[in-house]
Amino acid sequence: MADKQWPETWQEFNLGGMVFSPGNACEYHTGSWRDQRPVLDTSKCIKCGICYIFCPEGCISQDADGYFVADLDYCKGCGICAHECWPGAITMVEGG
């Protein structure tokens, strides 16, 4: 389940569904939608960053060692990174 809570009752629903606090979409963790997750084999990764470029969620970033890793709070498990990774360093495995 996502961390972000929604209005408990219809009475608490904002008029017209308006959102008054900008930028709060990040509080909704879309990672809860995932049923496969990307696993990086650092022995094959050449740190080219093509996964970072193609990730439609924008959830991949470079860590301190220079590897590109997905933020599982937001990764929906689409598998595009694994598909694009030409050295074959990313594998999709079952289970969020």
Partner: protein, 392 residues
Amino acid sequence: MTKRAGMEIAFAAAEAVALCKPDVVAAYPITPNTHIPEHLSDIVADGRIDAEFICVESEHSALSACCGASATGARTFTATSSQGLLFMGEVMPIVSAMRLPVVMAIGNRALSAPINIWNDHSDIMSQRDMGWISIFASNGQEVVDMAIQAFKIAEHREVLLPLNINLDGFQLTHMVEPILFPDQAEVDRFLPEYKPYATLHPDKVLSMGTLGMPEIFTEAMKAKDVALINSKKIILQVWKEWEEQFGRMYEPIEAYKTEGADMLLLTMGSMGDTAEVAIDELRKRKVSAGLLRLKLWRPFPIEELRNAVKGAKVLAVMDRAVSFGGSAAPVGAEIRAALYGEPDRPLIINEIIGLGGRDVTVGDFIQIVEKAAQAEKEKPEEAYEIYGVRGS
């Protein structure tokens, strides 16, 4: 000072809207539209009102432009008819869900095919469940009055919903009638300035029209339904204020000679005025018949209907649209459902009449009342019929 003028009703509607000083009018200017936006574009071009007239490339864009303009806090108006309303269809539920008080005049016209530009109610019935307040006018005076009332109702802080005023294509839109126009000072006294609940503005960031996940969508729909149901209270309040200031009374269901009537006709739109003449004629012949004119279609006035039909033996419901393959025509089905739980409900017959501009005459209503009298004795098998269709 109130001024009396003979005017085509579409022009009169535009004049009434101009008295409400809209900020933005967006409309697609050609068929199936009426003279309403055409005359408003003249009014704007002549500098009589300080409004932006957006001459868009389609009805879809017209309502989208109104939606966006209303979200910035502008008082907005549009008008359309027939297939033009269908083309607005995608945006219709968005405007209501975003709680934007756009006002629209619909010159009700048939839906093609076959191509037909004349009057019936198939256009608005296709948009029945879009969450808009939906009001029907019987004559030119009502169109003008309702246009001014519309902004006050829609923009009321306890309503904030879009509203459509329905006026029959040709039978009303192209008819010249004597109409009383309030002057600007009277309208200004009646209609307060629009104070939006929230607006899109770069200085105060907020989002409208956001995503609604399954976890929240049901609650969103409940909130929208309750908003429309609760709008009735304000509609009645605004109508009362109108009556106090201008002396003309508005009710969700207007009763004409219904006291003690065994048979009731129920109409929406311009045919109510024709039916009134038929009732006068029938009363002269000692036929116990009365008329109910339904003005408020959404939110549907369930309680008022139940009270209005008390004591009647037969209720003949007129429809100006077909619900193809349905249990009855739209108004007929609605009324049957609303009265189903009533222990002493009248027998209901449902007549579809006046499709695609076919004349509805006093004689037709007299015949329908005769049918109603017959129905009471014979209990018809058919749930509805298309009145006057050749070959039946």
